[in-house]
Symmetry: C2
Subunit: 373 residues, 2 copies
């Protein structure tokens, strides 16, 4: 049994629109409740159709992770976009064109990049200073108050650059095992960011503070000092978020429908069509502490079931996936039928597949399908 | 300095055509020397242009890993194709259409699939029986002689199904740490496969034996009993193959050119534009036993350098990569310029990027760019 109206042939990313809308509503309402700007990160879905669903909740400002993605959403009518990625100087020309047509915000963390931007840009752009509040991927250390103040002053002195605020992303929440650990990171980072804001205020600068990360923003009600939130993954959620206690299983809005192609009852394994090119090599730990590349569900008329117990994707090669299960569930798997794999990391999965298909059978527009360079 | 004539903007998969041609020649000559059929696996490059380069070496039979890929190469003039993947019954219609236009070979391992094939197909297809010679991913155990004999007899009795031979793939060679371990697997597996051939010969069946896997086929000169080889990865090679002792560094024919976007000298880290969506999450162990998602080279007019010592990609998120290096090499990294990342697994990388670009600046046709469903 598979969702109505869908003619599956190959691995297909299935989206439960109702769950997705609930996720969007939940986060939009949280932003409204705390009176912060909701600027969702669209790198997770990269779909002009799903983007439109956000409009119903009043969203008119978005975040993306590349110039190319900004171009895609600009074409689809989004005119206030933050590219939450260090400026790629090789794309200054494209950035300049974008800045002439939409409200564009960029991230910087060095004077060198500021100089090159002001030298090239013919139209104003908003500038966020990237702050490292503990993740240590990019940004200026949150405790380096004077360095940050100097950079802001430098930006303010430059033509076409309008300093807008501070931007932080606590990506290390993704590496935690519990919701408590995530909230600890969030609260500590927020305390340091507020301290920075206080310091800047004493120097006459009152920037907005924009923070990211789905794990913390799903769990917390502490947005003290925050002016804008940029979560992305929550639109779909995934197994990784579920394992961390960030979402319930029922909030996960996507599964990969995969054809069963061979059975190996002697080792309780099922071979399916669906590999690293569909599901990525991200993994979580299974119950027995093995690498799990996804949990497994049965597809039905209304979507999909709870996970089949003690059953997981134990191995992925380029196009093959292997499920390990238990004797009592083996009869679920029949070559020629489809099973669902709950992805470990939905952002990677969605960026790799050409299509996303709703349970109603609608094929959604995506950047990878409609906008390949 | 970057290869001549190329205007980089974003992460770009660069191909050294000369190295690639040398790799193709090396394997084609090995096949000729041993008088075996050369049926290269095209899932690694998925490019109609690179496919054409094989024609210069007399290649006219190929292997692919999906029906879709068979359709792509059939359109580009390849008319003898083996789909080295268990039959996906959801694509029987597409398989039937293909079988009407080209010589198509399929893999089976069960009577159920044979029944469904013969019931549907209107045109003859060649059938290989998938043998598991130790990898334990798919196939019938090589020691189950009578089960294999029964399946072959069953196939032979069916309309439109022409039994062609035995097919094996020792994918577990990819998990070895040394060339000796790879050759051990190869030799043991080949001994078992020859035993199976001898058994079948006594029963009046003389199938061809087709084997896969780049690691063993790169290293061995023992093809005793083998009739056909289907290596794929050798066309590009990659860091994983190099670490296993399968190829030299100079045989690796691809690197991902990536823009440097931020510097963090305080932790000897370089941020570049290039993430899991470009490089996949495959890793090898670095010198200091950390996860390495790639080694790093300097791009130059003729291609790229040897790897920068003690320097590796220590982390990848969706679009960001982080390089860890040493003080004496830090000056190599300048925002706005490009560095090269040697991919861990070239098959995954090539399947994720829209383009492959040669050092001469030619953008090659690929399935993901020209043939998305």
């Amino acid at each position: 049994m598979t969702p109505a109206k869908i003619q599956f042939k190959r691995p297909t990313l299935l989206l439960d629109r109702r769950k997705c809308l609930d996720n969007i509503r939940m986060m939009a309402e949280k932003a409204a409740r705390h009176n912060v700007i909701f600027r969702p990160h669209f790198k997770t879905h990269q779909s002009a159709d799903i983007a439109d669903w956000f409009r119903e909740f009043g969203t008119d400002r978005i975040t993306v992770s590349s110039v190319r993605m900004a171009e895609y959403f600009a074409i689809h009518g989004w005119n206030d976009i933050t590219i939450a990625f260090p400026v790629n100087l090789a794309e200054l020309k494209e950035i300049s064109v974008l800045a002439s047509t939409i409200t564009l915000n960029l991230l910087v963390e060095s004077t060198d990049v500021v100089k090159k931007l002001t030298h090239t840009l013919q139209h104003p752009v908003g500038i966020f200073v990237k702050i490292d509040a503990g993740y240590h991927r990019t940004g200026i250390d949150v405790s380096h108050h004077f360095q940050i103040l100097d950079l802001i002053s430098f930006i303010d002195s430059k033509k076409n650059l309008q300093f807008k605020g501070l931007i932080a992303h606590n990506g290390h929440t993704y590496h935690q095992n519990s919701s408590l650990a995530i909230l600890d990171i969030h609260n500590q980072s927020l305390a340091m960011l507020r301290k920075l804001k206080t310091f800047l205020a004493k120097n006459g600068i009152n920037p907005i503070l924009s923070i990211g990360d789905t794990p913390a923003l799903s769990l917390t009600e502490n947005l003290d000092g925050v002016d804008e939130i940029r979560p992305g993954n929550f639109v779909f959620y995934d197994l990784m978020q579920h394992k961390m206690g960030v979402c319930t299983f029922n909030q996960i809005a996507v599964v990969m429908a995969c054809p069963v192609v061979a059975l190996h009852p002697e080792r309780l394994e099922v071979v399916f069509y669906g590999g690293a090119v569909h599901l990525s090599k991200e993994y979580v730990n299974s119950k027995n502490n093995k690498m799990s590349f996804g949990e497994v569900v049965l597809l039905n008329e209304n979507g999909w079931s709870e996970p089949i117990p003690d059953t997981y994707v134990c191995s992925l090669s380029q196009e093959h996936g292997i499920i390990r299960t238990e004797p009592e569930y083996f009869h679920y798997f029949i070559p020629g039928t489809f099973i669902g794999v709950v992805p470990v990391h939905s952002c990677l999965v969605a960026s790799m597949v050409p299509h996303i298909v709703t349970l109603e059978g609608k094929q959604l527009m995506t950047m990878s399908c409609d906008f390949k360079p």
